[in-house]
Every structure is written in structure tokens, then in C-alpha cells.
Amino acid sequence: MATTPLSVRPSTPSLLDERGDLVAELRTIGMVWERELIRFVRTRTRILSSFVQPILFLFVLGYGMTTLVGSTEGFTFKKFVFPGIVAMSVVMTAIFSAISIVWDREFGFLREMVVAPVSRSSLVIGKTLGGASIATVQGTIMLALAPLIGVHLTATLVGQVIGLELLMAVGLTSFGVFVASRIQRIEAFQVVMQLLLFPMLFLSGALFPLKGLPTWLAVLTRLNPVTYAVDPLRRVVFAVQAVPPAAAARFSTGISLFGTMLSLSAEIGIFCVFTAVFLALAIVGFGKPE
């Protein structure tokens, strides 16, 4: 709905209460965020299911594929895939957290939010931060499995991983919110998300190195935003592991774009751009009234 600036007419009634807008919007973001967390904590099945899937991936892919791929100078495929699995759990939780918008629409609560005298951006940012927080916690808990895989952790590394997880989670929750804002029904959301999620995960380099791929596959991976979030995570994890040169060549990290290898900060920068675009789309698409 078009909002005419309030100052257009000199005879406009007192605008005293229009002050303190920023504080009110920040309170709104905080409240929407808090609600997402309350709802997550109250839905035990959701907590459980969001753990089972990544662990399943880790064991099936990690252990199963390791026997097939083998190890290079003691560096196993398990270790290679571990950062990818952490990323996958963040991506899945982040994207599916947006389902709450579809629920809200179905149960009418979306209306309570969109008719309130607050900006849409605050609602979307609150939702996004809520989903992103949950996804980050999820991914961080996955780190507890690191010793089992033989992945070495340091305090700095955990800090770096949490930072990257948060960025990844914000980007993908925004993406989820954007998709959810155009979907009316729960069933449709689930179908659409499965359709988007698996290509995004499988074409992200989470499960295989991005080097020496056929051109069509290389192009697809480079178009996938998740790629630019998985690789930084793997890089910081690998930085504190003992990776023998032969293993580093086989289980390579880094993304080449137009013939040049991207730096870590370039990758993060690209993902930030994706995040900004998704967030903007989410805000525009969110809660358009009837």
C-alpha cells in the first residue's frame, strides 16, 4: 500500500508520536525474532528432524563414500565432506525455517503482522534473523561430531565457523522467505523447497571438489549462491587441519571464476551480494495485502 509522506500538508495533525520510529522498529525486529525461537523450541519434532537428516548424510556419505574414495596420505573423504555437511545442515534449516511464513498465512497470524503500524522490512528482518539464528545453532551443534571424524577444532576456528554459518543462514533464510512469500499453501512450499534445495546442495561443492568438473556442471555450480558459502567454510576448517599436499590437490578448495581463483574475501563478498538481493526480494514480496 502506498504510504504518502506525512509531512505533505502543513495542516497535518501532530506528529509527536511518529518520533522514536527506529527504536520501535528495532523492538519489532527483536519481538519477531523471539517468536521464531519460541516456536522452534516448542516444536520438538522439528528439532529432532533437523538433526537426523544431516547426521544421516554424514554417516551415509562420510563413511559410505570413504570406503569407495579411500584416503590420500591419511586424509579421508570424511574429513573433506564434513564442512560440507555442516553447511548443508545450516542451509536446510535456514530454508525450511521460512515455512513459518506459510503457516502464519494459513493460520491468519500473518494478518496480525502486516496490518500493524510497523514497516515490512522490520518483520522480514526479524523473521530472517530468527530462522538464521536457529540454523546457526544447528550447524554449530554439528561441530560436536568433529572429533568423531578426526577434524581438529580450535577456538578461533569455531568462531570463524559460527560467523560464516550466520552469514550463510541469513542469506538462505532470506531466500526462503522470498519463496515463501509467494506461496499460499504448505504442500506447495514443501514441494517447491525440495525442488530448489537439492540442486542447491548437490551443486554447491558441499559433497565434491569443484575442480575438473565438466563445463556444464562447473557453470551450474558457479551460478549457485550456496557455492560461495560452502567454500569459505571448508577453507577455514582446512586451514587448521594437517592436509598433505597430495590430499590438498585431490580434495581441493577454492572456486575459479573466469580462469582466476577467488580469494576467501571475494567468495564471502559474492555471497553477501546474493544475501542483499534475497533480503531485498523478501522484503518486497512479503505480506502484500489482498
Binding site: 504518502t4 495533525p13 508520536d17 520501535a24
Partner: protein
Amino acid sequence: MATPTTTLAAPLAAPATASGATLAVEASNLVKRYGDVEAVKGVSFDVGRGEIFALLGPNGAGKSTTIKMLCTLALPSGGTARVSGFDVRRQPKAVRRRIGLVFQEQTLDEQLTAEENLRFHAVLYRVPRDEVDARIDRVLRLVALEGRRKDLVSTFSGGMARRLEIARGMLHTPAVLFLDEPTVGLDPQTRALMWDDVTRLRKEEGVTILLTTHYMDEAEYADRIAIIDHGQIVALDSPDALKRKVGQDTVELTTADNALAVSRLAAAGYRCQEGEEAVVVFTTDGESQVARLIEIARVPVSNVHVHRPTLDDVFLHFTGRQIREDQGERMLSMAVRARAGRR
């Protein structure tokens, strides 16, 4: 324990400069078109502060669309409206901050407790932080749900949920509370309870209430009623005045000598006639006239029946149709009966 500090906060008061400082709602020639369909065809009315005002009409008459325009949820295709002194078109946020909304459909989060739902609302509507708890206490007491404060809304009955929504609508001390078909789907006892709540709100909080309904008996609670049909207001007045416009009361007296009674009453200036078994007197305010009529007739009276026009009569008079209470329900019960008959 009333907490005077939490009642109508000063910044929410109407702008003193506005011409209609004493009016809660001013609608002037409101029009809403959806494509070629004109859902509302030029509706004008004013609602005074503290008034309970009902828009009465059948489904699809344009009541909800009118309310949506006043709540800034639908942009008028024509005409203007001010709510609490603010223009719905130019100052939608200022309007929204001063109104409470209760929709036909439930808009609560069932996974949250009653208190959490209210707290969420308090933040969205900028209730000052130090007033939130007192306000939550107060509105829960207004709808008699203070005992369910910490309970999940999913454990509430339909009636309780609706009352919680009314409480929520009042949380930010709005100047006007909009209720769109507030009692649809509620059983009669719950409806009565809800009406107790609404009248109490008006008395204790001084809020103006604008509601839509297609239940005749509910419109009776209103100070004034606007009857809407086909997107236009066909009548607007207090329930009693509307009934008076439709016709006078009829008093039926069954007497020992009807003919004698008629002649005496006619001699005293009453318009009356001898019916099949009783004397029928047409008069205003029939109930208070009964004693006088009996005195004038001076014949033994065995039975008295006063008939006042009902809102059904009013509606029939102004629209030429009868309003069907819950056509849906009626059809459903017919279908159920049909199915039962097949067995």
C-alpha cells in the same frame, strides 16, 4: 484494581486541530470498485466518540469492504474517510496505530500463550515498555481471561480465542475498535459473553466501537445502525427510531366486549379496529399505553399482547427482503436432515 496511568495515552488522542475532533469516524461518499464491480457505492456516515455503531446487512452487502477502507486495509476508489481525525489515505500508519482490529478469521498464534500473543502485539503497536504488563493485566481482566494468561492459545475454545482477540485489539488503547462479524461461529452463550465484554469496554475504556453483523439481535446492542444493502446505506438511525419509522406498536386486547371497547377507544382518539378475537390498537410506545387503554375500554380484559416492530421488520421495510440468519447454517442443517432421511 484500575490503573489510570494505562488508559488512553495522551499521544494517541485525536489531533486538536482537526475539524472533527469529536468524531471517531467520518466517512464521506466512500466508493470501492473491484474491476467492474462496485462493492461500495458511496457510503457516508459519522460515528461519535464512545458510540457503538453497527453496519448491518446480508453477506456481500459491502460491510466488510467499508470496514477495510476505514482500517486502511483497502484503498478507497473514491470518497474520503477520517478515523480519529486522520485521513485513511494520507496517514494510514497514524490511523492504524489508533485502531484495534478483530477480523472474521482468527489471527492468533496458537503456539504461543495468551500473554505472548499480547506481548507481541504490544511491541508492534508501540505500547511503552513500562506499561505493557499493566495493560496486559487490564485487557485480560476486561474479557475475564486473566486465569488463562500462561496457557497456550491452542487450548482455548473458539469463544475464548475470540475474546482474547478483542482483548488484544484493546491492548494499545485504540480510539476505535473495529469488529468484523465478531460473533460468527460462536454459540449463543459465548455471543452473550462477548457482548458483555464489548459493552464493558465502551464503559470502562471509552472506546468507540464500529462493528459489522448480519445478526439482527446483535445490532440491537448498537447505539446506531446503518443498514447496508447492495453497497449503499438504506437507513441509518438508532434501533428504536428505525423501528418507529417502520410502523407503530400494535396492542391486542382480548376483551369481554370487543365492539364496545373499540367504540370507546375510538372515541378517546385511538386508531383501532376490531380483529377476529381481539381489539387491535395502533399506537406509539404500546407497552406504556396498556394501562390507559384498559382504563378507557372499561370492559373486562382477558389477554394483552403488545407487538413492537423488530429489526427484521425494519430490514424488510428498507430492503424489501428478509435477512436470513446464517443461510449457510440453515442449508447445512437441511443437508444433514436430507442425509439422515436417506438412511
